[in-house]
């Protein structure tokens, strides 16, 4: 009898241990969009970066307060009057296919980003002239001119290091089965349905990885994403609509975490891009200042976003270290706006504001329309499908365009390409030599305090001339089950798996 009891006990223990062994933890994350190709060199979407955060480690990363720290790199040093960057690499790091991550692999990845046809990284690291392998774990980048935003670029997709063997074998199909040195291995992708990644056992920082499998599911509809979270179909969702936040906060099984974005939402004014710029708004800075003063940013935030977003007036949000504090968000001042219009000789200026045809953008446009009307503006709203709006903006077939930018870690990424003379995203064709001088000077130095001085000088001009009227900054709003622990939000909006746990 005793033998039977022992056998039953042993059997039960075996079954229990087998159960424990097979209990794989899975985190299901609901994404607001379907990512594009999962190749860091040619990827174009923000949402793709969320998936990359699990698969591909970068040379550098950021901290939640936007400081640059090493990831695959352990140290860096500017040399040759800031025209050279020497990067020391972490030792003992493996790619998910077992290949070693070393200086040769870093060189191959950066070369690929620079030379592959259709590379969307090329512009970000175009200042790199040559890459030299100093030793097995040191590389030196030689730049055509000093360019301090390079570090921030290497803390994003341009700094993702690909397995040279996989990159060689798959070529431009690398994105169908990406192999990097991140904490998770790519397992499968069913277009528009799911992307599955599995814990990489030889990850260099495996002590911080606690979830065995992550399933990313694109669910574009906000309400459906929330319904999936509430029903337990998902554990974690990103980009929650501010209007859904009270409902989620009221659910004891869910948690909400927010952090201000590094991007912005604003109005780009056509100041010199073809005949459409020839109107009082495009030609007279006083009219733009009047429009700026007619907008009550706090009211927009309260009415449309439940106060969850951040009113703003610069290319970075007020909590960013590069925000120019001496130029705070202006208060609405209709009397001053009317006086400015009178001074400009156009008491009732009229213009067309192109807004993307999504609900949020249109609502913001409508509120601005009615606020500005009180100052004397006659704004016609032109709701336009986004791809068409981009084309119209690029060719100058707009007077003003309400558009946002997802943001970059370095302030240069939010500013230079939008306001520098002839820059690719400068749709309004604004050009001011003094601004260019300050922005170029900020690019050439590394010291944050010195850079801020140049950005302050640029802001003093830009916030007077207003080629872009910045309105607000979104918050990244995440909602997740109380089963999920250890989540740290970052201003770049990415979901880093390090530290994440599912109870």
């Amino acid at each position: 009898m005793k033998g039977i009891k022992l056998a039953v006990f042993a059997g039960a223990m075996l079954a229990a241990s087998a159960g424990i062994a097979s209990a794989e933890s899975t985190l299901k994350i609901g994404l607001a969009e379907d990512p594009d190709i999962l190749d860091p060199t040619i990827a174009r979407t923000f949402v793709g970066r969320i998936v990359f955060a699990s698969i591909c480690d970068k040379l550098f990363d950021i901290t939640p307060d936007l400081k640059i720290v090493g990831q695959l790199a352990t140290d860096y040093k500017w040399v040759d009057d800031n025209k050279g960057l020497v990067i020391s690499l972490r030792t003992g790091v493996q790619f998910q296919d077992g290949e070693p991550m070393n200086a040769a692999a870093v060189k191959a990845s950066l070369q690929r980003h620079l030379t592959m046809q259709g590379s969307t990284r090329k512009g970000e690291i175009a200042s790199v002239q040559s890459i030299d392998v100093v030793d097995d774990h040191t590389v030196k980048l030689t730049l055509s001119a000093p360019f301090s935003p390079l570090l921030a670029a290497l803390a994003d997709r341009a700094g993702m290091i690909l397995s040279p063997k996989a990159a060689e074998a798959l070529g431009d199909k690398f994105g169908t089965a990406p192999v990097c040195a991140g904490p998770y291995k790519f397992v499968e992708r069913v277009a528009q349905d799911r992307i599955v990644v599995q814990k990489f056992d030889n990850y260099w920082d495996k002590g911080k990885i606690h979830v065995d499998k992550i399933v990313f599911q694109p669910i574009p509809d906000n309400s459906v994403r929330v319904a999936n979270l509430r029903s337990g179909g998902l554990d974690f969702i990103e980009r929650v609509a501010p209007t859904d936040v009270p409902q989620i906060r009221g659910d004891s099984k869910l948690k909400v975490t927010t952090i201000g974005e590094i991007g912005y939402q604003g109005i780009t004014v056509n100041v010199d891009n073809g005949p459409q710029s020839k109107n009082p708004l495009g030609q007279d800075a006083r009219v733009r200042q009047a429009l700026d003063l007619s907008i009550d940013r706090a009211a927009i935030n309260q009415a449309l976003f439940n106060g969850e977003y951040i009113p703003g007036n610069q290319w970075v949000n007020p909590s960013n270290p590069y925000y120019v504090k001496s130029l705070p968000v202006p208060k609405r001042d209709i009397a001053k706006a009317k006086a400015l219009l009178k001074e400009a000789g156009v008491e009732h200026p009229s213009f067309t504001l192109m807004v993307p045809n999504n609900t949020e953008a249109q609502q913001v446009g409508q509120i601005i329309q009615s606020m500005a009307a009180e100052a004397g503006f006659d704004i016609k709203l032109q709701a336009t499908e986004f791809a068409s709006a981009l084309k119209l903006a690029t060719e100058g077939s707009m007077q003003a365009f309400q558009i946002g930018w997802s943001g970059r870690v370095d302030p240069d990424g939010n500013l230079y390409n939008f306001v520098a003379c002839g820059a690719p995203l400068n749709d309004g064709h604004y050009c001011n030599a003094e601004v260019d001088k300050e922005l170029k000077a900020a690019r050439a130095i590394d010291d944050p305090a010195e850079r801020l001085k140049h950005y302050t000088a640029a802001a003093q001009i830009l916030l007077k001339e207003l080629p872009i009227i910045y309105i607000y900054h979104r918050q990244w709003i995440y909602a997740y089950s109380t089963k999920v622990e250890g989540f740290t939000p970052y201003p770049d909006g990415l979901i880093r798996p390090q530290g994440l746990m599912v109870k």
Partner: protein, 313 residues
């Protein structure tokens, strides 16, 4: 029969050719620059130029059409510019999903629509008839996305008995597969059931007042046999045609329903492709669904030909 079949099949080729021109031509009417839309937020001019060249967007329209048609004839529907995957693979990946959803929806429609139509016709003018008509009106006038969302709130969020969205292949787990499809299939089937009920009812009313039905009753046959054997069999002919057409439409993708339930089928594929200006995907999917529609129509015509002796005369 053979001549009829050959004639019908011969018509398919020019029809498909015509469809291909329409697909290609209509897509050019989409506003915006596809290369600009694909280049991402950075809009790097070099990337835009590269995309334009790679996908022949810098070629004249007839050349692009010729290149695409040549590929199609070789079995190459092109490549998705968004995820660099062959369109044919995407079609083959989505087709079983959409076909299963469409099949389940038609099954639900048949199970609700035909009995409701028959009962409504037999009980013409009674409260049951009015009830069935109200049901049909409800089914026709309820927007799919709204009904879908209510079902999600009830069965997934409140009761927690069904998954809110997603799709599990039947080969992976049949139970989960059916659980993910039951709500979207009901939403789609419900709307079709309403149309079927109306058609069955009017066809039955016509048939039940025909001379041969009166003769059947005069012969002393019981009402059940009269209605089901003599009435329904004849009344079903237009309903079969309707079913085939509805099935064809479902195969082209139930756009809103697939969006609400995040079912990775044709509807979702094509909507995303249009917004991303992924031309090759739009062209490939529309061509495949048009082909499916034409083939289903042919099948319906053949079935009609077989059951209706007058056509054979």
């Amino acid at each position: 029969m053979l001549t009829y079949l050959i004639r019908r099949i011969a018509i398919i080729i020019p029809t498909l050719f015509f469809v291909s021109i329409i697909i290609f031509g209509l897509q050019q009417l989409l506003p915006g620059d596809p290369a600009l839309a694909l280049a991402g937020e950075e809009r790097d001019p070099q990337v835009i130029a590269f995309l334009r060249h790679k996908y022949h967007l810098d070629e004249p329209l007839p050349v692009r059409y010729g290149l695409w048609l040549g590929g199609v004839l070789r079995g190459d529907l092109g490549e998705s510019v968004r995820i660099n995957k062959p369109v044919l693979d995407l079609v083959l990946e989505k087709l079983p999903v959409t076909a299963e959803l469409a099949g389940m929806a038609i099954l639900i429609a048949l199970l609700i629509g035909i009995p409701a139509g028959v009962i409504s016709a037999v009980k013409n003018g009674t409260i049951i008839d009015y009830g069935a008509n109200i049901f049909a009106l409800w089914g026709l006038s309820t927007p799919n996305f709204w009904l879908g969302f209510l079902l999600i709130l009830l069965f997934s969020v409140d009761l927690g008995v069904l998954p809110a969205s997603g799709f599990v292949p039947p080969g992976e787990d049949l139970g989960k597969n059916l659980a993910t499809l039951v709500m979207p299939a009901f939403v789609l089937g419900n709307a079709i059931a309403a149309v079927m009920m109306r058609h069955t009812r009017s066809a039955m009313l016509q048939v039940l007042s025909a001379d041969y039905v009166r003769t059947a009753r005069a012969k002393g046959l019981d009402e059940r046999t009269v209605v089901l054997k003599h009435g329904l069999r004849n009344a079903l002919i237009p309903v079969v045609t309707l079913g085939a057409l509805e099935f064809g439409q479902l195969l082209s993708g139930a756009v809103l329903t697939e969006q609400v339930f995040t079912i990775p089928g044709f509807g979702k594929l094509i909507v995303d492709a249009v917004f991303n200006r992924d031309y090759a995907v739009v062209q490939g999917v529309v061509l495949c669904t048009a082909t499916a529609y034409i083939v289903l129509n042919l099948c319906a015509d053949i079935a009609y030909f077989l059951v209706n002796p007058r056509l054979r005369a």
